[in-house]
Structure formats: C-alpha cells, structure tokens
C-alpha cells in the first residue's frame, strides 16, 4: 500500500507537469488549427482517463466509452436545441445523464466478465448509437444537431478543456489515493477475495461505471459545444478503439499513461496525416506490439528506465491452471 501511494503521487505530479507544459503551449503555438488539434487531444485525454478508471483500475473492460461521450453530447445538444438551455446547464445535465446510464449499464453487467462483458457493452453502445442515429424526428439522425458555442476564441476553449482536465485528474487522484482506490484494484485483481475482505463489490463496481461514464459524458458535452455539432459518429466503435489504443500505448492502470497517450497519439496522428495517412496503421500496430510485449505501455518503459537498480516486482502468481 505504501508502494502504491508513493507510485500514484509520483504519477500525479507527472500529470500536473505534463498539463503545465500544455498550458504553456499557446505561447508558442498560435495557429488556430493546431490549437484545435490540442483541444481535441484533451477531449480524448478526458475519455481515456475515464475509461482507465474503469478498465485499468477496476478491471472492467467496457467497450462503451465513446457511447457515453455521445450520450453527453446529445444531452446538452438536445437541451440547447429544444429548450435553449445554457451550456453550463447542459454540461452538468450531460454528466448526470451519462452517469445515470453508466450506472444502469454497470448494474446490468455486474455478473459478466471477460468476453461476455466486452460483447454486452459493445452491443449496448451499438444499440444506443443505432437508436440515436435513426430517430430522425428527435435527433435529426446522421445529419447531426447544431449546438451553440460557448466562446468565440479558440484560446478560451483551450483553457476550458485544460481546466476541466486538471480538475478531473485531481478528482481521480483523490479518489484513488483514498481507500476507494484500493477497493477498485482489489476488485480488479480478484473479485471473490475482495468481497471476502469486506469490499462492497456491487457498490464499487457500479460506482466505477458511473464515474467513468460521467467523465465521458462531460468530455462529450464539452466537445459538442466546441465543435458546435453533435452526430452519431461520436459513438462509433472506432472512437472507442482510439481511446483504448491511447490508454494501452500510454500505460494502462496509471494516472499519467492515459493523458500522455491521448496527447501523443492524437497530436502525432494529426502530424502524420500530412505525411501520407499511415497514422492509424502505425497506431494499431503499436497497440498490438505494446500489449504483446510491453504491457505497461510507455509509462511502464519510463518507469523501468528510471529505476533499473530496483529488484523486479514479484510476478503475479498463476491464477488458474486450466489454460
């Protein structure tokens, strides 16, 4: 436990450091296109952090993060469209609605694990996307909904996204540093053992789904106001694939991994796009290589390089011998 506290404090410091660098970037980068790229990468950093709480710390590999972003974006979009609700209200409502749907999904999949969990969350995400995409009367289907913007300047959006990202990181750090962090990781490592030591598995698993979905919904709502258009494309399974790639490349199950992964992958992909559009092939290949050979991601590699002298952590024991 001491080891974990030490580690997560270090990771949190690093995240703040990375975000401090991001805060200084507008001094150098004034081109609105590249400011937009960094804003979208911060959107992905939010999604990646939320998914990492659920997948990396709680062990629940949901395939629905993009779906919750879409739910959040449509919540604020529909509120603005039909009731002319102000953005701050829409964004707050997006968190509540996405969190509510997330807790519902969490209750539904409570007993499922592994491939069953993946299939159910994938189907859930697809059903919601199909329903939103085909309800032309309400959502205008694939045409998408126009959403009012919040600011006129890119820079204002930039610092809004940055501020939200910092707040989410602080909240995640506080959550993980408290006993809750240990509960979640205990559930990830062995649900039965966690329950036997008094962890309320049902409650904390549902809570992880709820918080993760609320963060995704928040990200989606902000993105909706930034791009001023929400469409069912936000919930494509491909977007989920992108989020997973970022977390795996950055380092799953750490605070700093998802943020760095999202920033690096998205900014590099925009950069590589000009070179010939091979960026998605490269990233898919990187994800395969990382998960096959360095499961701890970039952050794991850095950590190993920083502490070469320390004895390796004991390998986890073989859980089941049947395969």
């Amino acid at each position: 436990m001491q080891h974990f506290h030490h580690r997560i404090a270090l990771e949190f410091t690093l995240v703040l450091g990375v975000l401090a660098v991001v805060a200084c970037l507008p001094v150098v980068i004034t081109n609105p296109y590249w400011l937009g790229v960094i804003i979208v990468s911060m959107y992905f950093a939010l999604l990646a952090s939320g998914w990492n709480l659920l997948a990396g710390y709680t062990g629940q590999f949901s395939l629905a993060p993009a779906c919750f972003a879409m739910i959040g974006a449509y919540t604020t979009g529909l509120l603005a469209h039909y009731f002319s609700a102000p953005p701050w209200f829409g964004i707050a409502a997006a968190m509540v609605v996405a969190g509510g749907v997330g807790s519902l999904l969490g209750r539904i999949v409570l007993r499922l694990r592994g491939p069953y969990l993946a299939l159910t969350t994938l189907s859930f995400a697809e059903v919601i996307r199909v329903v939103i995409g085909n309800s032309y009367n309400v959502t205008r289907g694939d045409l998408g909904l126009n959403v009012p913007g919040i600011f006129d300047s890119r820079l204002a959006y930039y610092f809004l996204f940055l501020a939200v990202l910092v707040l989410v990181q602080i909240a995640l750090f506080a959550l993980l540093k408290a006993r809750v962090g240990l509960y979640l990781q205990a559930i990830r490592d062995d649900e039965v053992a966690a329950a036997s030591r008094g962890v309320n598995v049902v409650f904390w698993k549902t809570a992880a789904f709820t918080i993760s979905a609320a963060v995704s919904g928040l990200a989606g709502a902000l993105y909706g106001h930034f791009s001023q258009l929400v469409s069912p494309e936000l919930g494509l399974i491909f977007q989920t694939g992108l989020v997973i790639s970022m977390v795996v490349i950055g380092g799953i199950g750490s605070l700093v991994g998802p943020v760095v992964g999202a920033l690096l992958v998205y900014i590099a992909s925009e950069w590589l796009r000009d070179v010939g559009g091979y960026h998605l092939i490269v990233f898919a290949l990187l994800v395969i290589l990382f998960s096959r050979f360095f499961r701890e991601g970039l952050w794991g590699l850095v950590r190993r390089a920083l502490a070469p002298a320390r004895a390796p952590l004991p390998a986890a024991t073989v859980k089941r011998g049947w395969l």
């Binding site: 997948a55 990396g56 062990g59 590999f61 395939l63 539904i108 499922l112 694990r113 592994g114 491939p115 069953y116 993946a118 299939l119 159910t120 994938l122 189907s123 859930f124 697809e126 059903v127 199909v130 329903v131 085909n134 990781q185 990830r188 490592d189 399974i237 491909f238 694939g241 997973i244 790639s245 795996v248 799953i252 199950g253 559009g277 091979y278 998605l280 092939i281 990233f283 898919a284 290949l285 994800v287 395969i288 998960s291 096959r292 499961r295 701890e296 794991g300 390998a315 986890a316 024991t317 073989v318 859980k319 089941r320 011998g321 049947w322 395969l323």
Partner: protein
C-alpha cells in the same frame, strides 16, 4: 408465395452467417475469447477473391480457393503471433488474459481495416460472379445463379467442417482441447497446434463467406464490421462454443431477419439482434444450446 421466398432467402443468408459464426464459435470454444477481428477475416476474403480475379485475371474458380487460403493464412498467423500469451494464463502485470484478447484482436481489426484502406483504397470493390446466370424463377422462388451456387458451396463447407470436427483426428483433438485444455495436453495432444488449426479453419471459413458474397456486397475496408456483429449475436444465441448451436442460430437469424424487415419496422432493424444478445447474456448465458464449460 412471399413467405416461401422469405424462408428460402433467409436460409441462404443463414448459411453465410453460419460460415462466420462457426469460426467465431470454434475460437471461443478452444480459447474462451472473442475474436474481434473476425469481420476482418471476412473482409480479407472478399478483397482477396475480388482482386485476384479482377486484377490478376485468374479464373473465379481458382480465385475462390486462393481467398480461402488467404483467410487460413491470416488466421494461422494471428494465432501464432498474438495468441501465445493466452496459454500462460494470468500475465505478468494486471492485464489479464481476457482483456489482452479483447485489446489485441480489436487492434488487429483496426490494423487490417486501415492497411486495406491505405493499400487498396477506400472505394467499394465488387467481385465477379461465379457463374453469370441472371435471376430466374425456380418454382415460386426468384434467385440468381451465383446466389444459388454460393449457397450450395456454403452448405458444403458447413457440412465439411462438421464432418472434419467429428471424424478427423485433428477434429477430435480440437474437441478435446475445447472440453479441457489441461486434460487434453495430459493426453499428449499438442494444444498449441490444435489452436492454430482452429484459427486457420476459422479464417478460411470467414474468407469463404467474404469471397462468396463479394459480388453482392460492394466490399469496402470496413465491410466486415456488420457480419461480425451478426455473428456475435449468433454465437451468443447458439451458446458460446457450440458449433451445432451456432449453425441453428444462424439459420434462425437469417429467416427472422427476412421476416422482420418485411413485417416489423425497418428503421431500427440493426438494433434487434443486439437487444436479443444482451437479453440472452443476462438471462441465459449458456445460450439456447450451449453447455457449461468443464473445468478441472
């Protein structure tokens, strides 16, 4: 005679679904993981058949086996290169085997889609027909020559795989590994090789489906995602890992979809199967015909 027409066309669709679902089911049976790149095996089959026949000018009856071989090769390579960590059970860090399989097959799917998108191009490709007989009436049913021949080949492949699994030495070994990997290895079965054979067979079947449907589907790089989702529904419905179950569920889904599109709302048609999938997983996780896993 609309009903008879719907049933026959539904069964034909079901046969193509079965080609996809059998492979997915076999992989689940032997490794207890879902292959999220299964739709891309299908896509590779469609592209291999189309490009070999049209760009290289190879006759269609040679291009089809070539597509089959391409699918088998990609399945075999997938198993040899990516599935090895699964046999060691719990991996070194908190990244568990189920999650590893989800991430790695998901990434493989992303990789194959974008590779084809970049190398061949994002434009739709239409494959040549196996025989050029236009739609004709057989009794009350309207059907094209290609569709009839493709359905016959699909049926032959389904029966062939059933016989292979039941009577051949490899098939029996695969069944043994699916029942109990550890027990099978004690009995001297090379479990790694059995898994590789399963992946090759699955890839070949999915590629065959892609090749047979190539003249009907206008293949684009992401053409596989739709049949893949269909086959997830089927394997869940038929019971994960049960081959006969997935065949019956395929035929059932093919027929039901035909009727649903005509008699129920068309708009949300893509959502019905997925809702069924969620309900089955929650209420009857072993599916309609599945058996509970036997563990030691």
């Amino acid at each position: 005679m609309l009903i008879l027409d719907l049933i026959v066309n539904g069964v034909i669709m079901g046969l193509f679904y079965a080609l996809m679902a059998i492979g997915l089911s076999l992989i689940f049976g032997i490794l207890k993981v879902i292959n999220f790149a299964h739709g891309e095996f299908y896509m590779v089959g469609a592209y291999a058949y189309t490009l070999i026949a049209l760009r290289l000018g190879v006759p269609v009856w040679l291009a089809l086996p070539a597509a089959l071989a391409a699918g088998a090769a990609i399945g075999w390579l997938t198993e040899r290169s990516l599935m090895q960590p699964l046999y060691r059970g719990y991996t070194s860090w908190g990244f568990m085997r189920d999650e590893y399989a989800v991430v790695v097959t998901f990434a493989l799917s992303l990789f194959l889609i974008n590779l084809v998108d970049k190398v061949v191009g994002p434009y739709p490709h239409r494959g040549p027909e196996l025989i050029a007989i236009p739609r004709m009436a057989i009794g009350p049913i309207m059907i094209s020559g290609h569709r009839l021949l493709a359905a016959g080949l699909a049926l032959a492949a389904v029966i062939g795989v059933m016989l292979f699994l039941r009577y051949s030495a490899w098939g029996k070994q695969i069944q043994a590994v699916a029942q109990n990997r550890f027990g099978a290895s004690l009995a001297g079965i090379d479990t790694g090789k059995a898994s590789a054979v399963v992946f090759a067979v699955s890839g070949a079947l999915a590629a065959l489906a892609g090749g047979l449907l190539a003249p009907l589907i206008n293949a684009t790089p992401d053409v596989g995602s739709f049949p893949a989702i269909k086959s997830y529904v089927i394997v869940v419905l038929g019971g994960m890992g049960s081959v006969p179950g997935s065949i019956i569920a395929s035929l059932l889904l093919g027929v039901l979809e035909g009727f649903g599109a005509v008699y129920i709302s068309y708009d949300y048609r893509d959502a019905y199967g997925l809702v069924i999938l969620i309900l089955v997983l929650l209420l009857r996780p072993q599916g309609l015909f599945g058996e509970r896993a036997r563990e030691v």
